[in-house]
């Protein structure tokens, strides 16, 4: 395969006068799981949102599949085969599981809807049982499954996941991570994963980046990063 699927070079992003990203370089190759770890407020979510054009990068360039998407409006970017499950799940609480999934399929032809939905159901059988339940009444784990399932409904090539393990019990986290691994292995889906749960994320991912204060300070394969003493000290202390 040629070239990376996603390539950021020298990307900066601002919230008003606050600089949240300070020149980020990052690459994701097709078929890879790449994880981004970092402390609270490091700019991980900002990076995910900047890829989607909200906020837009002020400097630098974002290439997706060889195309420059830096200045495109969000809705156009999301039509190109990217999907994001944003931080905090953000499912539609008053709408049913079914409607949430339909919302995810908004950008693609309805032709493939049934097949994609079945794929999501094999991944998360729980969603199938809860199809007519309102999103807001699902348990936290089910909501997370729905958020990922909804993102998958657009049949993306690149899936951006922002903290899918947030607030979930270890067993459910393992279930979600298992699903990500299965998707990647079976369908070749490329995943960029933001995680606080550094240990599990690095074990899952092919490669990882460490973000500190809006800049990448370390990069390497998952195993490599796991072995580094400074990573152990900063992110895995007292961990698993």
């Amino acid at each position: 395969m040629s070239g990376p699927l996603l390539k950021l070079s020298g990307v900066t992003a601002f919230y008003g006068a606050i600089q949240a990203l300070k020149g980020v370089d990052l690459e994701v190759a097709p078929g890879e799981i790449v994880t981004l770890i970092g402390a609270n407020g490091a700019g991980k979510s900002t990076l995910m949102m900047t890829i989607c054009g909200s906020p837009h990068a002020r400097h630098g360039q974002i290439l997706y599949d060889g195309r420059d998407i830096t200045a495109l409006p969000t809705h156009e970017i999301m039509h190109m085969g990217l999907a994001q499950s944003p931080e905090g799940r953000r499912i539609f609480g008053r709408m049913t599981v079914h409607e949430n999934l339909l919302m995810g399929a908004q950008v693609v032809a309805m032709r493939n809807y049934a097949a994609t939905r079945d794929m999501v159901f094999t991944l998360f059988p729980r969603l199938k049982e809860r199809l007519t339940q309102r999103g807001g009444t699902l348990s936290g784990g089910e909501q997370q499954m729905l958020a990922i399932g909804r993102a998958l409904m657009s049949q993306p090539r690149l899936l951006l996941l922002d903290e899918p393990s947030l607030g979930l019990a270890p067993l459910v986290v393992r279930q979600i991570f298992g699903a990500i691994r299965q998707l990647n292995r079976d369908t070749g889906l490329t995943v960029l994963l933001v995680e606080q749960n550094a240990f599990q994320a690095l074990r899952l991912a092919h490669r990882g980046y460490v973000l500190v204060n809006g800049a990448v300070t370390m990069a390497g394969s998952g195993a490599e990063l796991l072995a580094r003493p400074e990573i152990r000290a900063a992110y895995l202390e007292g961990g698993h």
Binding site: P73, M78, Q84, S85, R90, G93, M95, Q106
Partner: protein, 471 residues
């Protein structure tokens, strides 16, 4: 238990402060008589001047007429109502009340499935048995139903709080008024025009407010409504200023007019009927009924397609919508435009029915009433709009008629003075009804939301059944 333990005993706690303390103690202790007496006291304070005194114009300026009976009646009524409410509440425990409320919600949801077709049949058949005054009332209610349905797209589905909806009503009305009187265009030609121009204004309003939500949006839309009204007053060369435009032609049925001339181009003449003004009233009734049903049909269709679903999603979470590739700008603008179109249709109808438009018909209170109809019905519920328009507009009007009959009929003897003059109290009753409904059913009369897609049997999900636990 009696009302006397409110009264000061005089010896042990003389000061008014102690009295208050005693009252609040027995109120807090759940003594319903004490509570009701306190309510009556508050009512007395409120009503002493408002109801107890009336100003009449005497030979020199105004004279004050005391009305002790009216005052006593109202204070007594407050006491009784409060007492009954409290006794009723003591009878039912909170858990029981919850279950009751829940049963009521389910009942209403169930009822709506049966009631909606029944109401539709009734609406279709109304002209065959109702007399002229009920027809006019029907037209009034249907106008508000139509406006409510139009606003429901913006507020109920897309969640954009619009306090200036009357602006689109005005644009529609003036479009027809101007095009018909200046260019001699007919109603059916102008109707789409009125809708289109209102939609244009909707988009024009939409652009500047795209980034606003909630309270901020509400304020700007409120201002927008006022701008339109002031424009209408001041652009006198086009709009006739405060005098408005009169002599607006009536609609025709395939070119047939409704008047008494009896020629072959009139409805009565063509069909060889005796002319009667009721014919036009019936025709107007069916026009607004058709327009309202069109609005409803269109909205119900929209809810099932991607756009309608995107509106509802937008109301819940804009960021999530963006991340799913929804063009938030376009989605909001279409909501404004479509809602405005329906407002424009209703406006054109208003102009042709009244044959006269003036800026006075398009004040903020109209926006408020339409919004109240939507909110009372339950945001986003089409059937709720019908119910609340029936109750708030139709019911109120009937109450008003009944009251004036009661007051003027002399059935009550001296107590007739207690019956308020319904014309003056219309907004008061409207407000009271609003408060009562909102207290009893905080999410509106029909608070369930029907999913836009269903698997097999459609299931209504009542708002009361589920506590939302959003992450």
């Amino acid at each position: 238990m009696s009302a006397t333990n409110v009264a000061p005993t005089g010896t042990d706690d003389p000061g008014s402060r102690q009295l208050l303390r005693r009252i609040s103690k027995s109120v807090a202790g759940g003594n319903p008589f004490a509570d009701a007496a306190l309510s009556a006291l508050v009512a007395f304070g409120l009503f002493a001047a408002l109801i107890g005194l009336r100003t009449d114009s005497g030979p020199v300026g105004l004279v004050l007429t005391p009305r002790p009976w009216a005052l006593a009646g109202w204070v007594g009524a407050v006491f009784l109502v409060r007492l009954l409410v409290l006794l009723w509440r003591q009878r039912t425990r909170p858990a029981q009340a919850y279950a009751e409320n829940r049963r009521l919600a389910e009942g209403l949801a169930h009822l709506s499935r049966l009631l909606a077709p029944a109401l539709l049949l009734l609406a279709l058949a109304l002209p065959s048995f109702a007399d002229r005054s009920y027809l006019d009332l029907g037209v009034l209610v249907l106008t508000y139903v139509m406006l409510g349905w139009g606003l429901n797209v913006v507020v109920g589905l897309a969640g954009l709080l619009d306090l200036g909806y009357v602006a689109f009503y005005a644009v529609g009305a003036y479009t027809y008024a101007i095009f018909s009187t200046q260019f001699g265009l007919g109603f059916w030609t102008c109707l789409p025009l009125a809708g289109a121009l209102a939609a244009l204004w909707g988009v024009m309003l939409g652009f500047p407010v795209l980034r606003l939500r909630g309270d901020y949006l509400a304020i700007v839309t409120l201002a927008f409504g006022e701008i339109i009204r002031i424009l209408l007053i001041n652009w006198a060369s086009l709009t006739g200023g405060p005098n408005g435009i009169s002599g607006i032609p009536r609609p025709t049925l395939f070119g047939l007019r409704f008047d008494a001339s009896g020629g072959p181009d009139t409805f009565a003449g063509y069909f060889g009927l005796e002319y009667s003004p009721t014919q036009r009233a019936v025709f107007l009734y069916y026009v607004i009924l058709a327009l309202a049903l069109l609005t409803n049909w269109f909205t119900l269709r929209l809810r099932r397609v991607a756009l309608g679903r995107a509106w509802e999603a937008l109301r819940e979470d804009e960021i999530a919508c963006r991340s799913l590739g929804i063009n938030v700008t376009a989605t909001k603008l279409t909501a404004f435009a479509i809602g405005a179109t329906f407002g424009g249709f209703a406006g054109a109808f208003f102009a042709t029915r009244a044959a006269f438009v003036s800026p006075e018909s398009f004040t903020f209170i109209e926006s408020a009433i339409v919004l109240a109809v939507v909110v009372l019905g339950g945001l986003g519920s089409q059937f709720g709009v019908v119910l609340s328009a029936l109750v708030m507009i139709g019911g109120l009007e009937m109450l008003r008629n009944a009251l004036s009959e009661l007051a003027s009929g002399g059935y009550l003897g001296p107590l007739g003075a207690l019956v308020p003059d319904p014309g003056q109290y219309r907004m008061l009753i409207f407000g009271l009804a609003l408060v009562v409904v909102m207290v009893l059913r905080p999410r509106g009369l029909v608070s369930g939301r029907t999913p836009s897609v269903a698997l097999g049997r459609r299931r209504e999900i009542s708002a009361e059944l589920v506590a939302e636990g959003r992450g």
